[in-house]
């Protein structure tokens, strides 16, 4: 709490200091243009009108830079109602939206430029996601609530759409580098120009880090070690989590007239295992990932009057290879000692091909009609596995039986299977201005899956321009989450058996939202929501089944305030309460309350300071987990930025978790890592950037 007081004091001092610096030329330009936003718009960048009314937040490149974010998770944490938690294995992010949380987090759809990057194996963004750098991001749009009526599967708890920079947003050649705590080094190069008449954008970003190394004092192996019958002393705890990794992110985007072609690659090397896939420290295990994407889009407004037509083909290939030591050398789960530890080397290869056709029709007065259809082919085309154990179920629980050495089990007892899935879909949406100030948007999407059959998901939105300052929205939507291949086709793992007969998870969400513009400088957003989840897929007790139900409700409040010419303040508060219907207890792990405040202050035309506070509160344990509730935490970050410290040189110095707060994310129930997963302590980072025209 002292930390918050200190931060608030700091912020007050800043506010008091708001002496008037004269930005004469800039003032004149702002008067000519309206505001900074127009400077960009007038350079030719078209806005994208979002496709349906929803409860959404947008974070711009400008805000990303102000807050000094280095990874996408730092940005997502600032969204109201969204908290980024982590799984023990690889510290893969769990985007908890409105209290919906699960270890693999398949209930959130992440898109890059509108295209899903979901991996069909676990329904997440790969078992070796390892973060995403932010330099090439133009903006991030986060829709909380249902999106299946437009996006199809997995737009369930929410949809995160990452839009990369186009040719108008990069200034010739831009290069930059940063370095800081945890031996972290980043570098980037971006180019925008015209090549053979095509607008061309290239972006390359590299990262090498040892990662934070906060200590875990006991892990799952510690629990095994405490069993006198097993007589082991194998745990590596107390020891630090392993979060080193290297990454390369490249993108090429070329466009001309109606055509756009985009190519992307995300490479991940030596991705360490966090706190271990088995909630057991592992200082040897690593994973590599290669993710390729390509898409070609044709968009025309001139072919037929009143019709905007779009055709898109996209391809996504994702390969994750892991070499893991699930339990350390010397471990024994009851069926023999593993002198080299429990070793697993699972590799998953998958590819996705998509064809999407859509049209936007404005030929009927007072109606905006959107229709579309498409095909998506999911192909888990190769599964490989080596391991030195088999899992057996005994009356006392699951035990790992040593095989003596690492054996290739790809053709004998692999963990999953080569599988494909075909999806055909069609959707229609009409936005009807049925009376002055009233618009009713109705949408429906039909998806036909080759495995579990068809699903229909509707969306209704009633928008009322209540007054000059107030807009009110009433929203309903149904969404679904398709079972992952792990849930359908897991084999040879008696504690997690796949079930090919699974149905999708379903959620119905009701929302009421208000957007109030108190003045040009002060904007308030408020929404209240209620949702019901059905058919939640759980391994219950050992085979995947549609058994879970969950309900939740809450409110979110968002404030954007330009307090003075030099000081802007953004903040949000979110409250949610979600209940697991099977146990009548809190759905667990996600914060019931979250508060975020960010102040950006222009000290001089050159220097600016940004400080932010994230307060995470009220995280309860799952039923049957007897540990006390997870501690609240408050993290304060401060970034000092000099736009032109020297001609065309920008410098930023950033301190993350300034007060070195002990912050933890929940470990799996009932407490495999008893004292939870530690987040990074205080860190310092320096960044330099320049550009050439």
């Amino acid at each position: 709490m002292n930390n918050i007081v200190t931060w608030l004091f700091f912020f007050c001092v800043l506010s008091l200091n708001s002496s008037a610096f004269a930005f004469d030329d800039e003032d004149a330009l702002i008067e000519a243009y309206g505001d900074e936003e127009f400077l960009y718009l007038a350079t030719g960048r078209k806005q994208t009108v979002s496709q349906a009314p929803a409860v959404a937040s947008i974070v711009s490149a400008k805000a990303i830079r102000e807050m000094g974010a280095r990874d996408i998770d730092e940005i997502l944490e600032t969204i109201p109602g969204l908290h980024v938690s982590y799984a023990a294995g690889g510290y893969s992010p769990i985007y908890q939206i409105r209290g919906i949380s699960s270890d693999f987090n398949p209930q959130v759809l992440m898109l890059i430029n509108g295209l899903p990057i979901t991996n069909i194996f676990a329904g997440n963004r790969s078992q070796a996601w390892a973060g995403m750098p932010v330099e090439n991001i133009s903006r991030i749009e986060v829709i909380r609530g249902p999106g299946s009526a437009l996006y199809g599967a997995d737009a369930f708890a929410g949809t995160i759409n990452i839009i990369t920079k186009n040719h108008t947003e990069i200034n010739g050649i831009e290069v930059g580098a940063s370095a800081g705590s945890f031996d972290e080094y980043r570098g980037w190069l971006q180019y925008s120009g015209a090549l053979a008449g095509w607008n061309t954008v290239f972006s390359g970003q590299v990262l090498d880090t040892h990662g934070q190394h906060e200590k875990v004092d006991a892990d799952f192996q510690s629990l095994l070690d405490a069993n006198p019958l097993l007589a082991t002393s194998a745990s590596l705890a107390p020891n630090g989590v392993s979060l080193g990794r290297q990454s390369l992110d490249t993108r090429i985007d070329i466009s001309k007239d109606e055509w756009q072609i985009r190519l992307g690659y995300q490479g991940r090397r030596n991705v360490e295992v966090g706190a271990g896939l088995f909630s057991t420290l592992d200082n040897e295990g690593e994973a590599d990932a290669d993710r390729y994407n390509a898409d070609i889009t044709y968009l025309t407004k001139n072919l037929i009057e009143d019709w905007e037509l779009k055709a898109q083909y996209s391809f996504f290939n994702t390969i994750t290879k892991s070499d893991l030591v699930l339990l350390p050398p010397g471990t024994n789960t009851g069926a023999g000692i593993f002198p080299n530890g429990v070793i697993a080397e699972p590799d998953v290869y998958e590819r996705h091909n998509r064809i999407d056709l859509s049209a936007f029709y404005t030929g009927i007065n007072k109606h905006d009609i959107r229709i579309g259809a498409g095909f998506h082919h999911q192909d888990q085309y190769k599964i490989e596995e080596k391991k030195n154990f088999i899992t057996a179920l005994t009356p006392f629980g699951a035990v790992l039986v040593p095989l003596g050495s690492v054996v290739d089990v790809t053709n004998t007892t692999p963990f999953n299977q080569e599988e494909t899935r075909k999806i055909y879909y069609a959707f229609v949406q009409d936005a009807w201005d049925f009376a002055p100030d009233w618009t009713l948007t109705a949408g429906l999407r039909y998806d036909d899956y080759s495995d579990f059959g068809s699903t229909v998901n509707p969306r209704l939105a009633l928008v009322w321009q209540t007054s000059y300052r107030l807009t009110s929205k009433l929203l309903y939507g149904r969404s679904f989450r398709a079972p992952s291949f792990a849930e359908q086709f897991n084999i040879n793992n008696p504690v997690a058996v796949g079930n090919p007969n699974l149905d999708p998870e379903i959620i119905d969400t009701y929302e009421i939202a208000f957007d109030y513009k108190a003045s040009e400088d002060l904007r308030l957003g408020f929404n209240a929501f209620y949702y019901e989840m059905q058919d939640i897929i759980r391994f219950n007790p050992t085979t995947a089944n549609n058994t879970g139900e969950q309900t939740g409700h809450g409110v979110e409040l968002e404030v954007k305030w330009k307090a003075t010419k030099h000081l802007s303040i953004n903040g949000n508060y979110a409250y949610q309460s979600s209940e697991d219907e099977a146990t009548n207890s809190d759905a667990a792990d996600a914060p019931q309350q979250q508060l975020y405040i960010r102040a950006n202050y222009a000290l001089t035309p050159v220097w600016s300071i940004n400080s932010q506070l994230n307060h995470v509160m009220d995280r309860q344990r799952a039923a049957g987990d007897l540990r006390s509730d997870i501690d609240d935490y408050s993290i304060v970050d401060i970034t000092l930025r000099a736009r032109e410290i020297a001609p065309n040189i920008e410098l930023a110095v950033s301190a993350r978790n300034v007060f070195d707060e002990d912050a933890f994310e929940p470990s799996l129930a009932p407490g495999l890592i008893p004292n939870d997963l530690p987040l990074a302590g205080r860190g310092f980072f320096v960044e330099l950037r320049t550009s050439f025209n």
Binding site: E31, Y33, G34, A42, V55, A56, I58, E141, P436, S467
Partner: protein, 317 residues
């Protein structure tokens, strides 16, 4: 009638040929040297000037030298630079340099751009292109979006915007629109006038035009009042200031920077040819509209395609 002698005919032909040649020579003095100076402001504000100068460079018939002047430079340094550069014409971008009249005297023409002008500047005989959009562009757009409108009300400060209103009156007449002028001296007077106009303009045939850079239009307190009242009375409000659209005006315009750059070079060439030595509003614009307001006014959505407008508010979530 006496027959004209062939020799006269020949002379006439030669004369015509020469005069045509002379004209060619004049316009073929392609390599006018035009110097462009603008304040070297920080990013992203500099993109505005950079885009204008990019447009200028597209006019290849002129030799253009550009100097983004750092804030630390003295007016004398600008004077020295101009002496060394020896331009035929100088284009001054931005509001900052209007005050440097004395230092910028020399054997060259001065053209002002990307700035606001008052009647004073007009009377001083300054030449250039204002950042204020040409009223006819706004009026034509108004007629397209709301064809029922026959009258436009405008409240303005005579010394600042009188010159613009004079030219607006001419174009309004050409478009069969009646322009009701309401000159005011101060904000208080303006507030009363706006109130009366809105209360009396519930009829869909009347519209209100808001100006840019007018000292009697207070943006903090008066503007929100005007826009809120206009919403209540369903009065059509359009503006010369794009910022007003985000706040609820029906439409406005933005500078089309590259085209503006080309126009400024053309203006310089015209002036060097002894033509158009005056101040004029900006003709190269992009349109901005507010769909929320249009829906409230029950105007047809047909005019809201992306082809018609560069930006459409609100940027719906």
């Amino acid at each position: 009638m006496q027959k004209r002698k062939p020799v006269h005919k020949t002379l006439l032909i030669i004369l015509i040929a020469f005069s045509a040649l002379a004209g060619d020579v004049l316009s073929a003095k392609a390599n006018y040297h035009i110097a462009v100076i603008y304040p070297d402001v920080r990013k992203p504000f500099n993109t505005f000037f950079e885009n204008i100068t990019e447009g200028m460079k597209l006019r290849q018939e002129s030799n253009i030298t550009i100097w983004p002047v750092p804030k630390t430079e003295s007016p004398e340094a600008m004077s020295t630079w101009l002496q060394n550069t020896k331009p035929d014409a100088v284009i001054l971008l931005g509001t900052e340099f209007k005050q440097f009249n004395k230092q910028l005297k020399g054997p060259f023409k001065l053209i002002y751009g990307a700035s606001f002008f008052s009647r004073n500047h007009f009377e001083q005989g300054k030449a250039g292109i204002s950042i204020t959009p040409e009223p006819s562009i706004l009026f034509k757009r108004l007629k397209k979006m709301a064809p029922q409108v026959t009258e436009i009300n405008v409240v303005y400060h005579e010394l600042t915007n009188g010159w613009l209103i004079d030219s607006a009156q001419v174009v309004a007449k050409e478009l069969n629109l009646k322009l009701n002028k309401h000159p005011v001296e101060n904000i208080k007077q303006a507030a009363l006038t706006y109130k009366q106009i809105i209360e009396n303009s519930s009829s869909p045939t009347k519209a209100l035009w808001l100006l840019q850079h007018d000292p009697t239009l207070d943006e903090k307190s008066l503007l929100p009042r005007i826009l809120a009242d206009a919403w209540e009375h369903e009065t059509i409000v359009f503006s010369s200031n794009p910022r007003h659209v985000k706040r609820g005006a029906l439409f406005s315009s933005l500078p089309d920077n590259k085209q503006l750059g080309k126009d400024l070079v053309q203006k310089a060439i015209d002036i060097l040819h002894g033509k158009n030595n005056n101040l004029e509003p900006m003709r190269s614009t992009l349109m901005v509209a507010n769909k929320r307001t249009a829906k409230h006014l029950s105007l047809s959505a047909d005019y809201f395609s992306e082809d018609d407008f560069t930006v459409i508010y609100p940027r719906e979530k």
